[in-house]
Subunit: 504 residues, 2 copies
């Protein structure tokens, strides 16, 4: 595998991620460091970077550079965004940087910044149409997406550090300051005609502020899944948080569950900016992307020369990625998928499910055994843990919980993911049972992992009958699948017989 | 890796385990099947195996054989124990077996059965002195262990299926039956002079009954760790369960939490047998081994030609085993261990800990990063999960929880494993904090994973100072270790400075 380091020097934070990858095939994050250097601190209207923030930023960058060199990173891509882009004294920064390190940092344009953010979010969430935004310390990038291409993009001078320094001069914020902050945020988006009145379209948000808002909302709602990526944040939730922040002193804000102390000062401005953006576009909700600029830079490299560098099928890609990195037994898993889908199709008049459920079942079949890497006993539960904690792309929270549940149920016992009921639909418990039952029968019809079963024919009725065709001796498979038919009987409320079809 | 299948045909259950291994180096369980065939059902005083149980057993064995063949197992070791050993009509069994499969099953003597059980338990728990027993369907094997060798062994005709069929003729059991059952159990161990009055010595129990009793006790006590291996079961707990079982009908017993329905009939007899054994030896507690006969057969093969085939250091072996199977970065982990132990030693007057804590710290250092295989973000938490769910050998529950906690804390945040407080000692929270703090400093002094730090000298005092010697540029390491010193400051209640020692 090759290793690439991606460094992003923002106005508030600088971060390094290191990806190990085989180009176009698979990748995984293997290192990450971040430091809140606040390069734009004290910049104000003069647009002059101050010496101490420069020193902090350069020190962090030189540490990142050292880390890349000592861990054998093959290539480093380092970019700087608005703070440095707009500075009148860039030269001071370059002088300090070159004195400390030979790191090759590139200042990217607001356009590029917006584009790479869009790439990160679109790959992570499977976004093909809608809008993305990335609220950083110095600016907010907004992109309109149509058919997987960014058709409009704009950088708005509304950043959380910039606005905090300009408008949040009292603790708690005074009414007057708050009014000015809100007015400035509204004004910032005013010119974006192409963003106006987009109710019903998808809006995806990136950046530390949006992740912080999601974390606070997750805690406040007792939402059962502690995961900001793909979390849906409503306009009402953002408004409630900004109101709460406006009323509290900084010290009181630090007590808010989900709000890290280094975000306690800047998040109010961030919430107000995001509210203004949502108002302008008439969006009632947004989806959080845990991936953004840095990952976008990575995808551009990883998927080159595709244009746009978007994964064709992010879900399928990341499930295969996970399967490969877990050293899955490919022939076995593909056969389990094949049998599962054959059962699914032949039972379609019974369950009435469609392409969405079929795809989930196929994905679950590919990774059903990955828990074996943890330990054989309870490997179905380990698999659930692994799927639950893998950064799969393109799955909603509901889909991700269902996928974990299918893996959990492929072998024995049963869980309908009840702790996550708030993420699911009321009939998902039945859906999980019915899909799991098919996966389990398929798994045991491939018990010997030798792809002996070549086909099957379902005879509907009660008892239901599965007639199995095999290339060789499939007694083991029929025996073990029959032993494991309990879940099927329950889920489909009928008896089940599994029989070897007479040889042709 | 090679693959070996181990099959054990008992009086109650027949099981197959498949191990993948490199001889003497590492292994992992990769498959397992069991079936409660109850071969000894209805045998009674006639000692004649009945046709239906023979049919069930042979069918299961032929399925196991097929599974081994279709999954590419290189070698199969299959053994039969008391049911078949004592049968007057062995020939009927052989005829049926040979008609169905070419599996080569070997009847082992009671001595061998006891010996392999001892091997399994001694390797799994690091037992060098004490006693082991294995209560099965037809008999109970007892072994005296001295200095890692079995010095006495005996097979007692007290088995759960045998005793249930003979004495449990009423539901709930009548007073008279219970009296006879107890008397028979006591009598069974009466002749074992070498087992008498061994209060204070270690007693290790194996088999489905002892695991069932542990599971019931775990549920009844709300013990926070749902793990029977290395669980301590007191004489009082066994007595309480046997009393409870004696008062209930079979249907009522099935409601007992932790008692599987296929164990609801035979566990009373099992509990009475184990009580009698504990009484005879004056043992106030026993430790459950999750490994026994099958694993013992495996170790004999895996460790050959060692005599006895015992791992010299089961804990160290299994931690290295886990590290290797997780593709750990060996040089990095060894350096983290080295730095951790150097800090531990130089701070010994401050923490006052000894060899036990030192060993835990060293083990945790070797596997601190294994969670990266799940995902980089939160890999410390994934590592905790992996350690918690790995079948590590020779660790008590307390040690295992502490080891997981150290891995959990190597990077950021802090957990003192509070949910497992009932498994820990009152001062373990402090112990975990102090050891974790050392591991974390060591991890960041090896941030670049390039073994740049070659030595360190601790200057005690407040602030405490760590003077770092390095072969090259260790600024990254000193910077990141300094950023992560918060836990150290808290755990040792003093300030900490980490400095590069002036070059010699």
């Amino acid at each position: 595998m090759q290793k690439i380091g991606i460094i992003d020097l923002g106005s508030n934070t600088t971060r390094l991620i290191v990806m190990a990858y085989e180009r176009g095939r698979c990748f995984r994050l293997i290192d990450e460091v971040s430091e809140a250097v606040r390069l734009a601190e004290g910049v104000g209207a003069s647009r002059e970077l101050k010496p101490e923030p420069i020193r902090r930023a350069v020190h962090a960058l030189s540490m990142f550079d050292r880390l890349c060199r000592s861990t054998g990173v093959d290539e480093v891509v380092a970019v700087g965004t608005s703070a440095i882009r707009e500075a009148v004294n860039q030269a001071d920064f370059w002088t300090a940087l070159r004195a400390a390190t030979s790191l090759d940092l590139r200042i990217i344009s607001a356009q590029e910044e917006a584009y790479y953010g869009f790439l990160g979010a679109a790959n992570a969430l499977g976004l093909r149409d809608g809008f993305t935004f990335d609220t950083g310390g110095g600016s907010t990038q907004v992109v309109a997406v149509e058919n997987g291409r960014s058709t409009e993009s704009f950088s708005v001078q509304a950043g959380v550090l910039r606005f905090t320094e300009r408008y949040v001069n009292s603790d708690p914020i005074s009414k007057r300051d708050l009014r000015e902050l809100r007015a400035a945020a509204q004004q910032a988006f005013g010119a974006l005609e192409w963003l106006k009145g987009k109710a019903g379209q998808r809006l995806v948000g990136m950046g530390g502020t949006v992740r912080t808002l999601a974390r606070v909302d997750i805690k406040a709602r007792n939402y059962p899944l502690d995961r900001v990526h793909a979390y849906t944040l409503t306009r009402a939730a953002v408004a409630a948080i900004s109101e709460q922040l406006a009323q509290k002193t900084r010290r009181e804000r630090e007590q808010i569950s989900g709000l890290k102390s280094d975000r306690a000062d800047v998040t109010l401005a961030g919430a107000v900016i995001i509210e203004a953006l949502m108002d302008h576009g008439s969006f009632s909700e947004l989806m959080v992307s845990g991936q953004g600029l840095r990952e976008g830079l990575f995808y551009a490299h990883f998927l080159a020369p595709s244009d746009p560098p978007l994964l064709e099928d992010p879900r399928g890609f990341s499930v295969r990625n996970l399967a490969r990195l877990s050293h899955f037994q490919e022939a076995h898993c593909r056969k389990v998928a094949e049998i599962s889908l054959s059962l699914f199709d032949q039972l379609s008049s019974v369950h009435g499910y469609g392409a969405w459920e079929r795809d989930l079942l196929a994905q679950a079949a590919l990774i059903h055994d990955i828990g074996v890497a943890v330990g054989y006993y309870d490997h179905h539960k380990h698999g659930e843990y692994l799927v639950h904690n893998s950064s799969l792309l393109g799955f909603s929270h509901r889909e991700s919980i269902m996928l974990s549940a299918l893996v959990r149920n492929h072998r024995k016992g049963f869980s309908d993911a009840a702790p996550y009921a708030a993420v699911l639909q009321p009939d998902d418990s039945t859906r999980i049972a019915r899909l799991s039952a098919l996966l389990r029968i398929a798994e045991y019809l491939e018990r010997g992992k030798s792809q002996v079963v070549t086909g099957l024919r379902v005879e509907l009725g009660n008892p239901m009958r599965i007639m199995v065709t095999a290339t060789g001796d499939a007694q083991l498979e029929v025996w073990d699948a029959s032993r494991r038919a309990g879940l099927f009987r329950k889920a489909y409320a009928c008896d089940l017989e599994i029989l070897l079809a007479p040889q042709a």
